[in-house]
Symmetry: D2
């Protein structure tokens, strides 16, 4: 295989192998317990957010990405999933505090074992360990975390599909028809 593809895939594989195997099960329970699910991230983590929210919607959940036109008010009983490698993104700190005050649950998906948002959150799902993210030339800035978080969340969708036995046709029927 092309060495750059191998570099990317090996790193994601190493990080996800170092990530507790029960996260998909725990996150499913949190999502199922919530009335509505809000997911927020900045920059490329914001794109990860949208990858995940679209599939949650296809799977039948009431899910929203922060900052979109129809994203409603969060309420007590909802879940706010924060995607932040550092756990220190300014606007997400503010949002996590607001969500807690309102009575929503907050879960942080992050690269760090300890952070400001981690202290606010009800649950912290650390992807890999603190030593997973040594600099690798060719995988600049947050690349390793963003891709690992994305693949974890795709696995999360697979977990939900298998657990609830959701036919692809049912998901497809919810998919946007208008481009």
């Amino acid at each position: 295989m092309n060495p750059h593809r191998k570099l990317v895939l090996d790193k994601i594989t190493e990080i996800l192998a170092a990530t507790p195997d029960d996260y998909e099960d725990r996150l499913t329970k949190m999502i199922d317990a919530a009335d509505q699910v809000f997911v927020g991230g900045q920059g490329r983590s914001g794109l990860v957010t949208k990858f995940f929210v679209m599939r949650l919607m296809h799977a039948g959940y009431k899910a929203f990405a922060l900052g979109e036109t129809v994203t409603p008010a969060i309420r007590a009983g909802d879940l706010f999933i924060v995607i932040s490698g550092s756990g220190e993104t300014g606007s997400l700190i503010t949002n996590a505090k607001k969500a807690k005050e309102i009575g929503a649950k907050v879960v942080l998906i992050t690269a760090k074992s300890s952070s400001t948002i981690g202290d606010i959150a009800d649950e912290v799902l650390q992807i890999g360990t603190d030593s997973s993210y040594q600099k690798v030339f060719g995988l600049p800035m947050g690349t390793m975390f963003e891709l690992s978080a994305l693949i974890f969340l795709e696995a999360q969708i697979s977990h939900v599909i298998h657990e609830k036995n959701i036919p692809e046709e049912e998901m497809r029927s919810r998919h946007a028809v208008l481009e």
Copy 2:
């Protein structure tokens, strides 16, 4: 008043004065008859779309802007509102055809009395008349249509608020809390 502000406001006022006064009432009936409302536009008309969809959501409607993460499949019984000055935007032609095939209603908000999307649509709401859009230096490209369509749709929201007597506090309670 600053002459540039006057230029913009005078032109919008002229166009909206030349627009049939019953449009807000007609559009309200179409929206109320629909299960879900989809709104689509390209470029700055796409921004007009989002201005409107957010307030529809605040007013309690199930409304979606095309192209956002949680926008679901359109179905028979839904309404597709197209915002297109020319009525000839390529992707919106395709979308209007799909919406009709599925059994949704299509309404076009446009600057032109006749167009491809106009021929597909169940209803055409022409903003102003064909002679409203002579070139004005300082209001380039689609400016006159985009702003007039926006103010018409803000008036549409005011119409809905008055007709249904929706308290501002109720709308505010649906507004996004997380930034």
Copy 3:
């Protein structure tokens, strides 16, 4: 004219009549003095941001809306235009502070004579006066500010076009061709 359209237009007209006439000239000088222009707002003020940035790009400026994919780093010598009715939007306070630290200029477009971002900014352009924004049934939440700020910024574009005598054809040649 339909009374709801009149309600919206009269309110915008009243607010812009109460707004100093030299703002377009002052803002043009700030934009012309900057290497790059960044514009940020939340919610519907974020849509106003994009209306304005697209026309700045058409007019030949290096302009960016916050949060988009290709928005680069702000640097000393750049201008950050904040659109915030309250002047208290959390993430924009953080951004305004960062911009100042880096050595960029900050200008606030707002509904309030005094605010946290106003205290940080080099210039405050208050749209209307503190008494302009009494509640009006039918114009919920930030509607009056958002529309008045938008029309002011469209007038700003008209000012720039007239001052620099920019042909529409030149602006159109920069407009996106791919939908």
Copy 4:
């Protein structure tokens, strides 16, 4: 490793192992030969687009995602990269034709060996082979293509970084500072 993570990673690995190893080199030559690079996709392929464009910008290219505020006109000498699993996305067919007419190059990244956009494009980079995309329960709709295309494009960035020896610090200096 959690079986769902393994399912996702094994499938991507299988697809990228079946993808010609010289694609990164070929795509680099196309990007380097272009004045400006435009990248377009719909739905989750649109998110892949933005992942890639942001890193191209960090690496010093003039790159744009379709549909964003500051995306300018495409011109002769530019490159249009289309990301479409089916190669049949309606608006992207229209865009690919426009780009060719203007004299830009078009390259398609796709799951199919043959398609409408493939017929228009100067180059087709098929990710995997036609037999790579058998249905897998848990990886609904376009998941396999979207993730494989994304990892390929991250490898593409690694290739560019290594070939041009771009320091991470240089990329970071271009990264957005304002959230």
